[in-house]
């Protein structure tokens, strides 16, 4: 079984992640997921590819804390977080978050909270390659 929290170069399968999540409890009635993908167009420019830099050990430990915090805050039965690094192009998966709970509201709210928190807490940076060259993405407030 793959770890519930991972940073990896390779793509992932939602079906596999959901099967692993479900495996933790048959009392799970609702699963909320968020999948972040690479767009081929951003801020009015075509994007050829996106590269990631990460403070690997800290990013992983922040993601693990985030999972634990979400499970406690929303009384989840289980949660998973996968973030890709390396190079991706338009349409590729970047990040996957899944939250499983007895009922749907907790699952959906936890999923939304986790992706918002991930963007605040986890030391990963993305650089876009456009026809105008490469530039690091400046997050919006």
């Amino acid at each position: 079984m793959k770890q519930a929290v991972r940073i990896q170069l390779e793509d992932f399968s939602q079906d596999e992640e959901i099967a692993a999540l479900k495996g933790s409890s048959k009392r799970m009635g609702g699963i909320g997921t968020f999948l972040g993908c690479a767009r081929d167009f951003s801020e009015g420019r075509e994007v050829a590819e996106i590269n990631f830099d990460a403070y690997g050990p800290m990013a992983l430990s922040e993601m693990q804390k985030l999972r634990t915090d979400a499970i406690e805050k929303y009384q989840l039965l289980d949660a998973r977080i996968v973030h890709r690094i390396g190079t991706v192009t338009g349409g590729d998966n970047i990040v996957f978050i899944a939250a499983g709970a007895e009922h749907r509201v907790a699952a959906l709210e936890a999923c939304h909270w986790m992706i918002d928190e991930l963007k605040q807490r986890v030391p990963i940076w993305k650089k876009e390659t456009t026809p105008q060259g490469q530039s690091w993405v400046v997050p919006h407030p």
Binding site: Y55, H83, K119, V122, P123, W136, P139
Partner: protein
Amino acid sequence: MIKVLFFGPVADRVGSNALQMEYRADMSLQNLRDDCAAKYSQAFELVSMVALNGEHARDMFVVLNDGDEVAFMAKFSGG
């Protein structure tokens, strides 16, 4: 020595991912930041987060230990 790490846009402006800074007794995180910012002022314009030994540092006046690892980081843009 203190190990100082840079990533993404900050590393680009420093021109390096890591450097070693001399350790001094009673040196705070703020002292280290001031020393580094004096050398790499353009890079430090981007710095808005600091990590000490892999954890978010909220208190810049904490005193460092020899061998600590510090990262000066721009706003995250993962996810």
